[in-house]
């Protein structure tokens, strides 16, 4: 049975990169949290992630998990964004051979997967070369 609620709840993060910043130590929580893992403070202000960054690491997934069965091979990476936040996402529009640590990337709105031909379509962010 499709369960759209779980993904819908994350739209502010997946569609608009909404995050929260700890009022005490400046830690940026993405997704937002109730407690700062750095200092234990429970108050935050609203912010948004920077949309550009550099790849810290990457790989090419050739044995995919079930919802991504028909997509492999695809590249994924962790990038450090301009605001210091580290984010995990697929890397697309890039030849595998061109992937390297330090590559500049930016966030783009893409489809992640869909539940068959009749289920919900899941959208979110991926990295593209900057």
């Amino acid at each position: 049975m499709p369960n759209p609620a779980r993904s819908w709840r994350e739209y502010p993060q997946r569609y608009r990169f909404e995050a929260e910043k700890c009022t005490n130590c400046g830690y940026i929580a993405f997704p937002p949290r109730l407690v700062c893992p750095q200092c234990g403070n429970r108050e935050f202000t609203k912010t948004k992630l920077a949309e550009t960054g550099k790849l810290l690491t990457f790989t090419i997934i050739r044995v995919p998990p079930e919802p991504f069965e028909d997509q492999s091979p695809y590249a994924v990476g962790i990038a450090e964004l301009a605001d210091g936040v580290k984010l995990t996402a697929q890397v697309v529009d890039c030849d595998f051979a061109a992937l390297k640590v330090g590559m500049p990337v930016r966030l783009e709105f893409r489809k992640l997967y869909e539940e068959g031909t009749a289920g919900v379509i899941y959208y979110g962010y991926k990295f593209v070369p900057e």
Partner: protein, 348 residues
């Protein structure tokens, strides 16, 4: 005076050449290239659709408009390849842009002119002071049936326009629409590919409506072809818009900046809108632009724009259409194309 406050384009980077498609079907590539005046077309990646392209084109429009998205009062995505038959592309777009919850939306369909119809509606709402800003997007990832002539040209792209009353980059001086019931090209519900009437799509369909709208709007405005710096016609192939221009008395120079189809293909609801973004990318303050779209079924929308000083300030705030068209291309073969476009029958 109302008009365009911001504009943005999005073109996926994959391309397939006419030769690649012709090879598979045993067709004569040179005659297709010559007959259609088409070399290659854009292909969406499997993770791209009308919604994803609309979001990126609209973000580019927002960058140029420099407005708070919460002030957008209406969002219209015109397409013949909306990802859902029920659940509007417009809500995903509005949510992604942070225009929700105070916003009107519903999806539009009118073959290749759904985008320009959306532009008319958004503009009109602004003129009626019903909304402060209205966003209209023409976007498609349309399919051509395997081996059919349309397979060579059916491409993917999106163009977005934010209409308002202030900070205009182009005033909208006149609008017009010329519509009849003409069954030249259609797709029944639950069918995967469209069908068309062959040569019937020419004179009684495309030309009748394009010429009807062009003549109608110029008469309404009391203008003639020489009064315009640029003209953009809907581009199902390279030949039709050039012929329309010739018949009406426009020169190649007026048509060329918006004539993207030879390297892009027919982006359907994005076709003339992308011609417009490409023209705005190079237009100068004071330039007069005529836009005439066409959608099968059939109808043509006309617009007359006058470019303002502000174009020079905002042009480079987002990617230029020709840059997206010409740079960073990824050529694919027919096998990858068929896989991306789900033309391969897979296991249940």
């Amino acid at each position: 005076m109302a008009g365009i406050v911001g504009y943005g384009a999005y073109i996926p980077r994959n391309r397939i050449k006419v030769e690649e498609i012709a090879k598979v079907w045993g067709a004569d590539a040179p005659s297709y290239k010559k007959g259609l005046m088409l070399e290659e077309k854009s292909v969406p990646s499997p993770d791209q659709d009308t919604i994803t392209m609309s979001v990126e084109a609209s973000k580019n429009a927002l960058r140029r408009a420099g407005i708070d998205p919460r002030e957008i009062g209406a969002v219209y995505v015109g397409s013949e390849s909306h990802p859902y038959a029920v659940k509007p592309s417009g809500t995903v777009l509005a949510e992604a842009l942070n225009a929700t919850p105070e916003v009107h939306t519903a999806d539009l369909e009118f073959a290749c002119k759904a985008g320009t119809e959306g532009m008319f509606i958004a503009l009109s709402l602004v003129q009626a002071a019903a909304v402060k800003y209205g966003l209209a997007v023409g976007a498609d990832t349309s399919q051509g049936a395997p081996g059919d002539a349309l397979e060579y040209s059916a491409a993917a792209g999106a163009a977005a326009f934010i209409f308002g009353r202030d900070k205009l980059v182009a005033e909208t001086l006149h609008t017009y629409s010329y519509t009849t019931d003409t069954p030249d090209f259609w797709r029944r519900e639950y069918q995967y590919y469209p069908q068309h009437g062959g040569r019937f799509t020419g004179d009684p369909a495309y030309f009748s409506h394009i010429l009807g709208a062009a003549r109608g709007i110029m008469a309404k405005a009391g203008m003639k072809p020489a009064d315009f710096q640029y003209v953009i016609f809907h581009q199902p192939n390279g030949k039709f818009p050039l012929r329309a221009g010739e018949i009406l008395g426009f020169s190649r120079n007026q048509i060329d900046p918006g004539w993207l189809v030879p390297k892009l293909g027919n982006t359907y609801s994005g076709s003339s809108p992308l011609g417009l973004t490409s023209t705005l990318d190079i237009a100068k303050p004071g330039d007069m632009i005529l836009l005439v779209s066409y959608g099968s079924g059939a109808g043509s929308d006309g617009f007359i724009f006058r470019v303002t000083e502000r174009i020079d300030e905002v042009r480079n705030l987002a990617p230029l259409t020709r840059d997206m068209l010409d740079r960073n291309k990824n050529y694919i073969d027919y096998g990858v194309y068929a896989k991306y476009r789900r033309k391969i029958r897979k296991a249940e």
